[in-house]
């Protein structure tokens, strides 16, 4: 009895925690509310009225669709690249010892610690030196630099928890490297890859800085939104899009969270 009372937080601390959480999350709610306002020039509070017409307007705006398509395409391709490269480098770093292993591990993780503006400027000048025209692919390359990190981190953690004797056992029972990867390694790292892939997708989907610096004429969804805010035209459309972006990125992150959490029960060892 006593210990349960002792472990209870005082009211003041609880209030502070609730206020803090509200402060972080109320503005998101505001965005949702403005998506349904009848007023389209300024953000007036309280909204003079509510309407669903902006959903329809957004649906019929081709520029929204174009930006959405580009964002999905970039996110999908960079996630795929990240999955392949991230898994391979994680396998190399966690499974074998070689000269400069720690350095390589650090270099792989670096892009996510580096401010996006630096990654962006570096890539931009590299592209112009190499005479590579800006295109979807330059955006994809830019995004891949930090998407790889997310997949790599997830995969490395799982590889470390998976006993190396599993691979040897599989070889011992007649499986070659390909079969061992297919039947033993992949199922054991699958949830980690899925989680890493989803995080990578979400990161790529709402990235602005690197995208701005590596894009040519193309606008991904976040870039399109920034432009809309600068030159307002049917303002609530931006809010509708913001709502969609929120859902598209929030759901994978939530799923990834649950996958990693459940993954903790999947131990790689027979002990």
């Amino acid at each position: 009895m006593r210990s349960s009372q002792d472990s209870r937080a005082p009211l003041s601390l609880k209030t502070a925690a609730v206020c803090g959480l509200l402060f972080m999350h109320l503005p998101i709610l505001l965005i949702f509310i403005y998506a349904f306002t009848t007023e389209d020039k300024t953000y007036q509070w309280p909204p003079p009225g509510f309407t669903l017409k902006w959903l329809g307007v957004t649906w019929n705006r081709p520029d929204v669709w174009e930006a959405m398509r580009l964002s999905l395409k970039v996110a999908a391709i960079s996630t795929c690249i990240a999955l392949v490269l991230g898994t391979l480098s994680a396998a190399a770093v966690s499974r074998s010892k070689f000269f400069g292993r720690e350095t390589i591990s650090l270099l792989i993780i670096l892009p996510i610690a580096l401010p996006g503006i630096i990654t962006g400027i570096a890539l931009r000048s590299a592209f112009s030196i190499a005479d590579i025209p800006f295109s979807v692919w330059t955006i994809v390359l830019g995004h891949a630099t930090f998407c790889v990190v997310v997949v790599y981190n997830n995969a490395v953690a799982r590889f470390r928890r998976t006993s190396t004797s599993l691979v040897e056992a599989s070889m011992d029972l007649g499986a070659n490297s390909f079969q061992t990867f297919r039947y033993i390694i992949l199922p054991n790292i699958a949830t980690a890859l899925l989680a890493g892939g989803m995080l990578a997708f979400a990161l790529s989907f709402d990235e602005v800085i690197v995208t701005t610096l590596t894009a040519g004429q193309q606008a991904t969804l976040p870039i399109w939104m920034l432009e809309e805010l600068v030159r307002p035209r049917q303002r609530p459309v931006t809010n509708v899009v913001a709502m969609v972006v929120f859902l598209v990125t929030f759901v994978p992150i939530l799923l990834a969270y649950y996958l990693i959490r459940d993954g903790d029960h999947v131990s790689g060892q027979g002990k």
């Binding site: 006993s163 011992d172 007649g174 131990s267």
Partner: protein, 330 residues
């Protein structure tokens, strides 16, 4: 008779460490062979060389008469029971056991009957649908055994498979492994650091020390006729009599081993010794003696040790045949 496994001048170096150093060894077809030694003595590396997980730095290994230098682990007719069992955590017990058959693309119905047979053999009927995490240590051990035996290997390698089990279970499994090996008639190569385990199961054993085979022989050979001081002290509690002590007793030789149970308390003649301590072991009494400043351990009957007190002067003797002369360590 062909040999199951043959080592010819095999060495394995890791950087500057000679894990296996110039080993010559022949393991006969159908025998229960133990590799005994302290940790770091090279016994596990030898096993991994046979399985193909490591490649020798120099020398030649043959399995069933065929050199295996360029044969990868998945093409060797050898299977392994791993120390940590290495059961696949995402597969059920039945899927674990039938893994080798699935890789060989064997028909599903045959796979199922074979798996059933193997699970019967290790007394795990009805456990097929469980996950390894739902089994006890002893059951996991049996699954690992069934999984390694399903493709009918000619040689089964066991890497300290009983290490993680408690004493009672370990003794049961020792007997079970022994009878299994008799029934199947295949070669078992068993790595252990526990001399009791090696003695109770093996037909022959090799005692490893610092990457070399210190002695190769039957359990009786090794127990009663240790070739050198390392074997004598590692295997059980044999006394090692140094050159000085031997000379002071008027015996020529480098060193000799003497089993504690071969020392008798003799009130009339014999060698003068001082009793340092005694401990009651139930059926016997263990005496710690000092002769010429060297310690010896003796095991005597309860009746013989009953009246002795610490610091007593006693006289001890042994039959000359009990003293076994040894060579310098290899």
């Amino acid at each position: 008779m062909t040999s199951a496994v043959q080592f010819e001048k095999v060495s394995k170096h890791f950087n500057n460490v000679r894990a296996v150093d110039d080993v010559d060894l022949t393991i006969n077809d159908g025998e229960f062979f133990a590799m005994l030694g302290p940790s770091g003595s090279g016994k596990t590396t030898c096993l991994r060389l046979i399985a193909g997980f490591e490649r020798p730095t120099s020398g030649e290994i043959s399995v069933l008469g065929e050199p295996v230098k360029n044969v990868p682990p998945y093409r060797r007719n050898v299977n392994t029971v791993f120390q940590d069992y290495a059961l696949f955590p995402h597969l059920s017990v039945a899927e674990n056991v039938s893994y080798a058959l699935k890789i060989k693309k064997i028909d599903k119905t045959i796979r199922r009957t074979e798996t059933e047979n193997l699970l019967d053999m290790v007394r795990l009927q009805g456990y097929g649908d469980r996950k390894p995490s739902e089994l006890s240590g002893g059951q996991r051990q049996r699954v690992a055994l069934a999984r390694a035996l399903i493709s009918k290997p000619k040689v089964l390698l066991l890497d300290e498979p009983l290490g993680a089990l408690d004493l009672k279970l370990r003794e049961e499994m020792q007997e079970e492994l022994k009878s299994l090996q008799r029934t199947l008639g295949i070669t078992f190569v068993f790595v252990t650091h526990d001399q009791g385990e090696a003695f109770s199961m093996a037909d022959r054993l090799a005692v490893f020390n610092e990457g070399r085979v210190a002695q190769l022989g039957t359990p009786e050979d090794i127990y009663y006729r240790p070739k050198n001081a390392f074997v004598a002290s590692f295997v059980g509690t044999s006394n090692v009599l140094s050159k000085n002590l031997l000379n002071s007793l008027g015996i020529e030789g480098f060193a000799a081993s003497l089993r504690p149970e071969d020392i008798n308390i003799d009130s009339e003649n014999g060698i003068a010794a001082r009793l340092i301590s005694k401990s009651f072991l139930g059926s016997a009494t263990r005496l710690s003696l000092e002769i010429n400043k060297e310690r010896l351990t003796a095991l005597v009957d309860y009746a013989q040790g009953q009246h002795l007190k610490e610091n007593d002067e006693v006289r001890v003797s042994w039959k000359s045949s009990a003293l076994h002369m040894m060579q310098p360590a290899p």
